[in-house]
Structure formats: C-alpha cells, structure tokens
C-alpha cells in the first residue's frame, strides 16, 4: 500500500476545475494508474481525499492505493511542474500499517458520506427504501460511532470536566473527542448534456478526532478499504496522525 500526498496549486484554472467537481478529480485519480483499479470488494482499493488548509488557500490531495500512482498529468496541470523537486511524495504505507497495535491512541481525520435508508411513513415493509444523507451533527457523529466497533477503533471519550454539560452521558452530543466540520452538500454533473435530474448529489463531512485501536486488523482494513459510501468521490479515506 502507498500513501501519496500531492500539493494542489489552487491558483491554476485546471486545479479549480478539479477541486470543483469530484467527478473530474475521480477521473484524474483513476488515470494515475496504468491498469484500471480492481473493483473486487475484498481487495484494497484506491481512496482519495482533499484536505483544505484553512487560511492559506492551500490544499493537499491524499491518495491511498495498492499500487504506486504516477501523478505527472496532475503535476503538469494542477501542480508546480517546473520546480526541481517531484510534485508529489509517495510514502510506504505498509510499514506504517504494520506498526499499528491494539490499544494505541491516534488522532484521525475521515471524510465521509454519512447516510441512512428511509422508507416513506405508512408504506409497507416491502416498498423500496431511499438512501438519505444524515443532516445534523449528532446524527453524523452517531453514524460514525455506529461503525467504530466493526472498523476496529473506538472514538475516545471526553473527560467529564471538558464536556459542555458535565456528567450528562447521553444526548448532549458532546461525549466524544470528535468534531464534524466542512459539511458540504455536493452536486455535480457527470456528463455535459444530462439535466439536473441526473446530477450526483451527496453530502460530504469531515470528522476530526481521537481514537483508540481496538482491533488492529480491522482498522488496517478500514484504512485501506475505506469507510462508508461514495468512495469514488473523495469519501471514506481515514488517515491517522500522532496524537498531540
């Protein structure tokens, strides 16, 4: 596995076009691999995410992939192609994944598409359900907490004296070390001619928080397979950084 960081030159028109549509960026990321990435559910897949650094107008594209990507095309159109240093850095992710051990604490970031399935009230159990985005912070955090055990981690609990309502253990929505930010409803077009009815719509949110590893193998799977829906469109990639 490889983790790649590509700094995006947001002053370039092409970079703005790519950052403006997950559809185009999905295509650009796919084209970093000579062979099409496998669509097997059991194999690790290509995951990507864009981190915007507040205040500076800078952005980083992170890619986790089973094979090493070649981002020359992106560097030429949305990077700094004439500088001497390579426009992106690929890191050996396997080595890092091996060092993960149960019980360790890490800070994490996850861009995700928290959804649930709803059925119109009053309709029978057989009627089809509709995939619907979670809208409120509490539901979005709830979505993450629901998946944490199977994904191999637990979000750390806040000490009681740092909670908004100390000692109130359920309902305040503030018991865990996690924040939700960059909540963004996305709507983009796959093809020029299609009407807005055929647009892709999804809600992407970013979770930042601290976790403790409960099952290192399951977490390795989460980090390389992704979490949740819309993985092609910049959701589902979780990364770890040392806790401060």
């Amino acid at each position: 596995m490889y983790l790649t960081r590509f700094p995006v030159n947001t002053a370039r028109t092409e970079a703005r076009r790519l950052l403006g549509s997950p559809h185009f960026l999905h295509g650009a990321v796919n084209m970093a691999f000579p062979a099409a990435p496998p669509r097997d559910d059991q194999a690790p897949r290509v995951l990507w995410r864009v981190d915007h650094h507040s205040g500076s107008g800078r952005a980083d594209l992170f890619i986790v992939s089973p094979v090493r990507p070649d981002l020359t095309h992106l560097s030429e159109k949305a990077g700094w192609p004439t500088l001497e240093e390579p426009g992106w850095t690929t890191f050996a992710y396997d080595e890092f994944l091996e060092t993960l051990t149960t019980g360790d604490a890490w800070s994490f970031r996850l861009a995700a598409n928290p959804i649930h399935h709803v059925r119109k009230s009053g309709t029978s159990k057989d009627s089809p359900t509709k995939r619907t985005a979670h809208v409120t912070r509490r539901h979005q955090v709830g979505w993450l907490l629901q998946r944490q055990q199977q994904a191999g981690f637990e979000v750390l609990r806040k000490p009681a004296d740092r909670q908004l309502i100390p000692g109130h253990d359920d309902g305040a929505g503030d018991e865990h070390e996690v924040i939700v930010h960059d909540r963004l409803p996305l709507q983009f077009r796959k093809r020029e001619e299609a009407g807005s009815r055929n647009d892709v719509r999804l809600v992407r949110v970013t979770f930042d928080g601290r976790l403790r590893i409960t099952d290192a193998n399951a977490l390795r799977r989460t980090l390389t397979h992704g979490l949740g829906k819309a993985k092609a469109y910049g959701c589902g990639l979780m990364t770890l950084a040392p806790v401060r």
Binding site: L3, A11, H53, G55, R58, E76, T89, A92, P242, R244
Partner: protein, 251 residues
C-alpha cells in the same frame, strides 16, 4: 538537546520588558524573563534564588495568534486605607496564543516538565491577573532542536481566528501571507541579532531586579497543517531503473 514546549493562551497576557514608572507596557510576544519566571515559580524557587541554569536555556516563541492590544487606565485604591494609588496605564494582549519553547540539558528539562505538571506557585501569563485558559504543557519533552520543535508544533490558534483568516483570504484573493507565523529565537553569540531586548533574567529579587540584554533572531514559518498523516512515514523508494522516465521534468 531536549525541548519543552509551552502553550501560552489566555484572555489577557502581558509581557513587559522595559516598563518603568506608571506606564506598564507589553511586548508583542512572551519575554524570556516572563517565561523563565513562570518555570522558576513552578519549581518553587524563591525570588532571590540563583537563575543561571534557567538563563542559559535557549528560548524561542512562535506567535500563533497575535491578539489585540488592550489599554487599561488603572485607578486603583488601597484596599485598607482607601487612598488612591498612582494612576497608571497598563497594556495587555487580549486573545493571544503563543507557543514558547526552552531547549537545554535533558535532566533540567525533565525537572521543569514535572514541575509544570504540579506547580509550586501558580503559573500566570506575565502578570498575576492573567491566568492561562489552557493547560500550559504541550506534551512530553521532545528530542531535537528548538527551532524544529517550534516549526512542527500544531497550530494552536482558536477556531474563530482560523475562520476569520479564511474569510479574509476569501475576500481579498488567496493571500498566503496571512498564514505565516512569526518566530522569535535567541540569537547565537556568533550572529548579528535582528532585535535586542533587555529580558534575560539575572535576579528576580524584588529589591533589585536585574536583566541582561538578549539578541533575537526573527523568522517566519508556514503554519503546520492541523492533521498531517505523513508524520513519521518513510518515502517509498522509486524503482531505480526507470527514475528518469518517471521524472516529470525531463527536458
């Protein structure tokens, strides 16, 4: 060398370096005498104790959030007699956040780290009326140089301040200049300092406070990203055979 990083954040801070008489100013960043005084107080040293070991520490500050200057027209009265005290002006920094670091001998730094965990006298930010709003310690002592530690420490600014910067960058074009942080470091003896301040403490004895001149070097650093997943990862080696082919910059 070992480095100890301190987070200096609070509603008010005041770091005087040249205050005399009734006008009590503040510098834009914590002074060496102020921070060493905080450390000495945490260790429980009396006012007239020897400070030479602390004064020999290398000191540096990063300005994470500059804050605003606040002037207090001070008309206090004596608590018992009711007599008016001399009218004075006191200056504070409101809503500022700094990361200060001291670099030195491992043993001393470890001792300071323990002392700050259970301080003997309460720490305050330059003046007794300015309590810190966040824990001062930023984790265990680090190995390496002070400059690297200050450059790599997480950006401590408050969320509202970051949002404000983002909005400002949005309205007047993407100016990356707004997002660089100032560094102030002790000047090594061989170099010419950019600034000098009289704030190296010799004695805090209230009967005869003494400070020596200190040279400072100034620098700027890009703020580190708030979440960097590549910390501690090794860049994957390129296969040597096709390096030239893969290089995006072959003429």
């Amino acid at each position: 060398m070992t480095v100890l990083l301190l987070r200096l954040a609070g509603p008010l801070q005041s770091w005087g370096a040249a205050a005399r008489f009734a006008r009590r100013g503040t510098e834009n960043a914590p002074t060496k005498s102020g921070v060493l005084g905080l450390l000495a107080a945490a260790q429980g040293r009396p006012r007239d104790a020897d400070l030479s070991d602390l004064a020999a520490l290398r000191f540096g500050v990063r300005i994470d959030q500059p804050g605003q200057r606040l002037r207090d027209f001070h008309t206090a009265h004596h608590a018992d007699s009711g007599k008016s005290m001399p009218v004075s002006e006191r200056f504070y920094l409101a809503d500022a956040v700094f990361v200060a670091g001291v670099e030195g001998d491992t043993e001393l730094i470890e001792h300071l780290h323990q002392a700050l965990g259970a301080p003997c006298f309460l720490p305050y930010l330059g003046r007794r009326s300015c309590p810190p709003s966040h824990p001062i310690l930023m984790g265990d002592p680090l190995n390496g140089s002070l400059e690297d530690a200050l450059r790599n420490a997480q950006w401590q600014a408050s969320t509202w301040y970051l949002d404000q910067l983002e909005r400002a960058a949005g309205t007047n074009g993407a100016s990356t200049d707004t997002a660089s942080l100032d560094l102030l470091l002790d000047c090594p003896p061989a170099q010419t300092p950019h600034l000098s301040l009289r704030d190296t403490p010799v004695s805090y004895d209230p009967r005869h406070r003494q400070y020596e001149l200190r040279g400072l070097l100034t620098d700027r650093t890009a703020p580190p990203p708030r979440h960097d997943p590549t910390v501690g990862l090794r860049p994957a080696n390129l296969p040597t055979s096709d390096t030239a082919e893969r290089s995006p910059r072959t003429p």
